[in-house]
Symmetry: C2
DNA sequence: TCAAAAACTTATCCTAGGTTAATATAGATA
DNA sequence: TATCTATATTAACCTAGGATAAGTTTTTGA
């Protein structure tokens, strides 16, 4: 299955698309190949595209005032990844987006996406729902990070995202959970595995 | 200025509305009065309405596994307040919404709002942007809570939301910041005020 | 106007998680 | 195959913030 087909199948799980719609979509999204460690978006630049992963694994992270990396999100096949903050508000990104493995993404420019909202009204509907879901999962993450212990967060991450845990180095999981790699290591020993 | 006028003015800052639109809106939103401490939404119920504050001050909070209240959001005049998670996903709310002062809100049922999206297309546009902003401010909050100290978060809260700080008890600010009232008290003394 | 309740402070002791630094192990690449 | 570089672990010690338990002050409402 080619890259555009993956995107179309993803969209079709939520909205109906005509052949005309698919033509518009094919012409609007551009494929980009990324080598492991390649950076797709730099903090300081503006995020002008919406991005859909068709293959591989990426992460978004920001550099805190402590000069350390904090991972905000992982993304694998069939996920969208972005610095939504920058994209939405047209401000410079605070986050980097980097390929953790060799990857492929399909991206569409914001300007073109806004046109598509008009050309395909269900597309705006799709993205309203997408932003709602993004909000929901961010809220879960916020609540978790504020009211659960690192051990609880780790257990939850393992059960929800086992496939990601197996693809990224452990220090990135630690960063995602908001603890040091040393502490995660300590936890793992304590938990017996 | 009456309650509906406040809502209309709020909407007009973002989208154009015809007289017909305003008629539809007036008929769709219902006014609700709340006495101080009255609970608008109970955890365990479903949040079936979108809610706009025309007067007063409310808070949303959940009871953590530690059996303590964690405030997620404050809202004052001209803000929307909700358990968006419950509203969006049609699941039972994890949060309570309670009046901190005597308040008035305008609320619209989700079913009716979805109809309005069709009757007034700009309304869906308005709410897409609203969800985007909700996402953005939640992301700021998450990043803050994970990478800043309680003291930094308190200073930021004070400068961004002085008007709220003056209207709610200090233990609620502590809860919003994710610290105990005792610790906030300690901080305030250390900071000299 | 005066109890009772709500909010705030202080002090002591305690713990989750951080820091630093040294060592171990595993991939990669020449 | 040997060597670099990226990960992961361990251990000793440190700190931000929590728990508990008294107080004190402020607000409320009969």
């Amino acid at each position: 299955m080619n890259h555009i087909d993956k995107l179309v199948e993803h969209l079709r799980r939520k909205i109906k698309l005509t052949d005309r719609d698919i033509g518009l979509i094919s012409d609007s999204f551009k494929l980009k190949e990324l080598k492991k460690k390649e950076i797709l978006l730099f903090a300081g630049d503006r995020s002008t595209h919406m991005r859909f992963i068709t293959k591989g694994c990426l992460r978004s992270y920001y550099i805190g005032e402590d000069a350390k990396e904090h991972i905000q999100q992982f993304g694998i096949e069939d996920w969208w990844i972005n610095d939504l903050y920058s994209y939405i508000t047209d401000t410079v990104a605070k986050q980097f987006i980097q390929a953790v493995e060799d990857s492929y993404i399909l991206q569409i420019h914001k300007k073109r996406l806004n046109e598509l909202y008009v050309e395909i009204p269900l597309f705006e509907h799709f993205f309203r729902i997408k932003f709602e879901r993004a909000y929901v999962s961010l809220q879960e993450r916020t609540i978790n990070s504020m009211s659960k212990s690192a051990e609880e967060r780790y257990l939850e991450f393992r059960s929800k995202h086992r496939s990601i845990e197996q693809r990224v180095p452990q220090y990135m999981v630690a960063s995602y959970l908001g603890v040091t790699p040393e502490f995660l290591s300590k936890l793992r020993r304590k938990m017996g595995s």
